[in-house]
Amino acid sequence: MTATLHRPAATPTSRPTVPAWTIGAPRLLAGLDRNAVVDYTTHLQLHGPLHHTDRARLTDTVDQVGLRGRGGAGFPFAQKLRSLRTESRPVVVVNGSESEPASFKDRLLMRRAPHLVIDGALVVARAINAADAIITVHDAIAEQALRAALAQRSDAGPVRIERSTGPFAAGEVRALARFLSGGPALAPGRRVLPTEAGVNNAPTLAGNVETIAQVAVLTRLGVGRFRETGARTEPGTILLTIGGAVTRPGVVEIPIGTPLGIVLAAAGASDPQAVLIGGYHGSWLAPLPDITLSHDGLHSAGGTFGAGVVMLIGSHACALGEVARVTAWLAAQSAQQCGPCRFGLPALAADVQAIWSGAPHGVDAALRHARMVDGRGACAHPDGTARFVASALHLLQDETAAHLQHGGCGRPVVGVLPVPATTAAQA
């Protein structure tokens, strides 16, 4: 083995620009082929005027197209609207944290199509009679773009931008609601839904940046036209962030239901051995071309859309080494709040490192620790990390056998998966 395990890799944020391209007609990414940033005039030319609606009609509309959250959990947006407590005035939170290191789609939308995000926030805020619509961002460039966009229009009264920071789990919506209430960006111990008690205990309708932008597109197009693309049971488009062993990395808008093979061919993936779908809380899958990129299709294949990340590992790279690097990073991202995560994730990371080094019994120990941390925390960070490791070990059985027999697979760890140079989370 010649490669080291912890070689720093370039993160998407360090690239000057992230390309955007589409399969089929663009909706969210409309105009980005000709504009670095879509300004308000161009935005209105592309999308037409904003269509406001009331709560009942908005709920019905998002229900009819089955709109699901695009931040990771894939929760039906109509269900959030329905469960919103109505006794006091609600708050809208547009979650632009995008703490997922391999994802860039939310930043791309905020940086280059900020008016679509603002539109969605306005439509939802008006429909539910919210006093505030807060767009939260970690990324400075996205923040600037949103502020510049707000200055271009006079109708964005309730919308404000909040800069937030923190580790991976700080982007989780209940941690975010606590941060916006003046507390630390940590998930609370009691599992109360934001729609019950979120920002300052007000009922809070939170949505990921892409989800909210989809609402802006949907209310303009209406159900019929929205359904003209995508799968019959899951209409519309979805954003992916594609990277790794591809010649055309970037943020890609696809019709939901597009086969993975078509996306991989368009991205210029050559001979991939493994694909990570969803992100660092997502699942490793064999890159089979007939996997349908829909919620149902990915569920059948053993994965989820997660945050829309599609990372390819080529056949000349050590996938296990990539898994070890990311697991170490995930362990360091624990907020140190909950014992099973605080102790279990470093143990899990050590197990994966041991498997990579060819130590015996590493796989058994890793699977045991993955089961042990799953579901035992205030947030989903241990669950997601367990899924990441368990799915990797399930897929990479030949590679783990090679590491056990020969002390390695003979391939370098090239640092395909971005690992930010952040240190451990502040407790």
Partner: protein, 68 residues
């Protein structure tokens, strides 16, 4: 009724497991592992004791079986 742990409070003292050994095991770091299913009537007394004895106030008995 079911037993819920506030993981941000639990320090793994293990008193709950001592009071309810058939229901609550401990992992290798001492943190509780609660076997699934509703707390039975015959367990309820011990479960209430376990809740009361937790020095970190991390254990709760809740009626609502649904999780957020």
């Amino acid at each position: 009724m079911k037993l819920d742990i506030d993981w941000t409070r639990c320090d793994g003292h293990g008193l709950c497991s001592a009071v309810l050994p058939d229901r609550i095991a401990r992992d290798e770091w001492g943190f509780p592992i609660i076997a699934g299913g509703a707390v039975t009537d015959s367990e309820l007394r011990a479960a209430r004791r376990a809740v009361g004895i937790c020095p970190a106030l991390a254990l709760r008995l809740s009626a609502d079986p649904t999780h957020a």
